[in-house]
């Protein structure tokens, strides 16, 4: 599914003393099957933006078109049907969990989609496995008796179980241990390449963004600063730093190494790529 955001503005508590313009005239097109990263300082409007994509927030002005259809023009029934295709993993997972057991919680979405018991069961098992949890060990536990990282994994499983066409993840790896982070990102990447779904990933980890996405949307105070490839965005180091962001650690390293090795490439975002490039310049 493609997502087109047109002249989108959002003002919280309009007319009250707490009025706040969280989004200002945002225009972007996310193509069907693409993988987009969103970065921006806290409060820059990332969560506000993505909550418009499945109709959780309504624009103050502007529109959101999904596959060419204005979702805020749609009838209520259509909007509900649409939400089934757009999976949103919230920033705070415990807000998303509410059933008595992990199994019921993950089954909630697919149940609402009207799937058969059998299909639901299978999806629940599969998605709990995808997020690196042991189904038999965790299925009967209360979601509220889990550790922070376990809760987050369950919340992600609940959305994956709906097999959405557009998967939106709001800082999904926050609170995950290193292995969990790697496993879940790998699962998302393989979902994207195998099922050709559209993925929108909000993250504060420049490493994860640099490793995963095709295009980066950079937000600052409710406005779009860049919407471009990692190669282009991560060369704008001073602009990024001036708005509270950064580039991956290894990118900083490459810049430092340039003094000694002028031919070294700077468009390096992962340890893997850094290793190759360093070996290349050192060994000639």
């Amino acid at each position: 599914m493609s997502v087109e955001i047109k002249n989108l503005s959002h003002t919280y508590s309009e007319g009250s003393p707490f009025e706040f313009k969280a989004l200002k005239d945002v225009n972007i097109t996310i193509e069907d099957g693409s993988f987009i990263g969103i970065i921006g300082h806290t409060g820059s409007g990332k969560s506000t933006l993505i909550q418009h994509l499945n109709g959780l927030l309504t624009p103050t002005s502007g529109s959101v078109l999904v596959d060419g259809k204005d979702i805020f023009d749609a009838k209520k029934a259509e909007l509900i049907a649409l939400r089934h295709h757009i999976g949103l993993v919230f920033q705070y997972p415990e807000h998303q969990l509410f059933e008595e057991t992990v199994q019921k919680d993950v089954a909630f979405g697919p149940k609402n989609q009207g799937l058969s018991e059998e299909e639901i069961d299978q999806r629940v098992k599969q998605s709990i496995k995808m997020v690196g949890l042991d189904f038999d060990a965790i299925k009967d536990k209360s979601p509220f008796e889990l550790s922070g990282g376990q809760m987050r994994r369950v919340a992600i499983a609940g959305v994956l179980a709906m097999e959405p066409s557009v998967l939106i993840l709001d800082e999904p790896t926050a609170g995950l241990d290193p292995r969990g982070r790697e496993e879940i990102l790998a699962q998302i990447k393989s979902l994207h390449s195998q099922k050709k779904i559209t993925v929108i990933l909000v993250s504060h980890s420049m490493e994860d963004i640099g490793k995963m996405v095709e295009k980066i949307l950079v937000m600052n105070e409710g406005e779009v600063v860049f919407f471009d490839t990692p190669n282009r965005v991560f060369t704008e180091i001073s602009t990024l730093e001036s708005i509270g962001l950064a580039v991956p650690e290894v990118t900083y390293l490459m810049r430092r190494l340039k003094e000694k090795y002028p031919e070294i490439r700077e468009d390096i975002f992962t340890v893997e790529a850094a290793k190759k490039e360093i070996l290349k310049v050192i060994r000639g």
Partner: protein, 248 residues
């Protein structure tokens, strides 16, 4: 385990390894099924010690939403000292100071629930700072912050430790944040499995990966380069050290 006054201890471990459980034990929120926890010589099991312990060892949780209580930011920060019976004039000063430390003065009159995740996290830290505890337990305080917010909070934590001699227990999944700790404790399935200086811990790349953890990026890169035959020390922790290693 024993933690000295003024020490900066990093705690790492996989999801569910017991980090938060440990921190709640230190703060007398939960109590040992077996054994004892002593904070400044006081046993957490003795009920009359409860408030002294909670004031001595402040705690910043994983999710700030669960600790913001008031409807206005500055009231929230004032909540702790108010409960401790601090005089109003001093509360005012403490609140201003704490908000300045986390750079949230401009939001003093906002409603906490209207703040974004990272902003809430900074308010939660200010709320603890205003109680002026001797020790702060940070349970993943930077998990939701952007790069500059994280840097700012880490600098704040280091400053509190260095200048105010505050004991810091820092739980994190970001290995870079604890390269300058005095000591790192590694938990695995509820047990302490490693303990020592950062350099000594992070040198054990394989072992850490086996238990689902990681090493700082520069340590990992050094490890990878070594395995390709490059002569590099196995205890590189920072960009600076890596530059030195590659440019001698």
């Amino acid at each position: 385990m024993h933690i000295e006054k003024g020490e900066f201890v990093g705690i790492i471990g996989h999801n569910g390894s017991g980090k938060s459980t440990l921190s709640k034990l230190l703060n007398a929120i939960i109590f040992p099924t077996q054994g004892d926890v002593m904070v400044s010589g006081l046993n957490t099991k003795d009920h009359e010690n409860l408030w002294t312990i909670r004031q001595t060892a402040g705690m910043v949780f994983q999710n700030p939403d669960n600790q913001l209580v008031a409807t206005i930011v500055e009231e929230d920060v004032a909540f702790g000292p108010e409960n401790l019976g601090v005089p109003p004039q001093e509360i005012r000063e403490r609140v201003d100071r704490a908000l300045a430390v986390v750079e949230m003065q401009a939001y003093a009159h906002q409603k906490p629930h209207q703040l974004s995740g990272g902003q809430k996290q900074r308010i939660a830290i200010a709320g603890i700072l205003a109680m002026e505890p001797e020790c702060i337990i940070f349970d993943e305080p930077t998990a939701m912050l952007d790069p500059s917010g994280r840097r700012e909070v880490m600098e704040t934590i280091r400053r509190l430790n260095r200048d105010k001699d505050m004991t810091v227990i820092h739980i994190t999944h970001f290995m870079e944040e604890i390269v300058a700790a005095d000591r790192i404790i590694v938990l695995d399935k509820g047990k302490v499995v490693m303990e020592g200086e950062p350099r000594m811990i992070f040198r054990q790349v394989k072992r850490l990966k086996e238990i689902g953890l990681d090493v700082p990026q520069m340590t990992e890169l050094a490890y990878e380069l070594r395995s390709e035959g490059l002569k590099i020390d196995d205890d590189v922790l920072s960009i600076e050290e890596m530059v030195n290693a590659l440019c001698q």
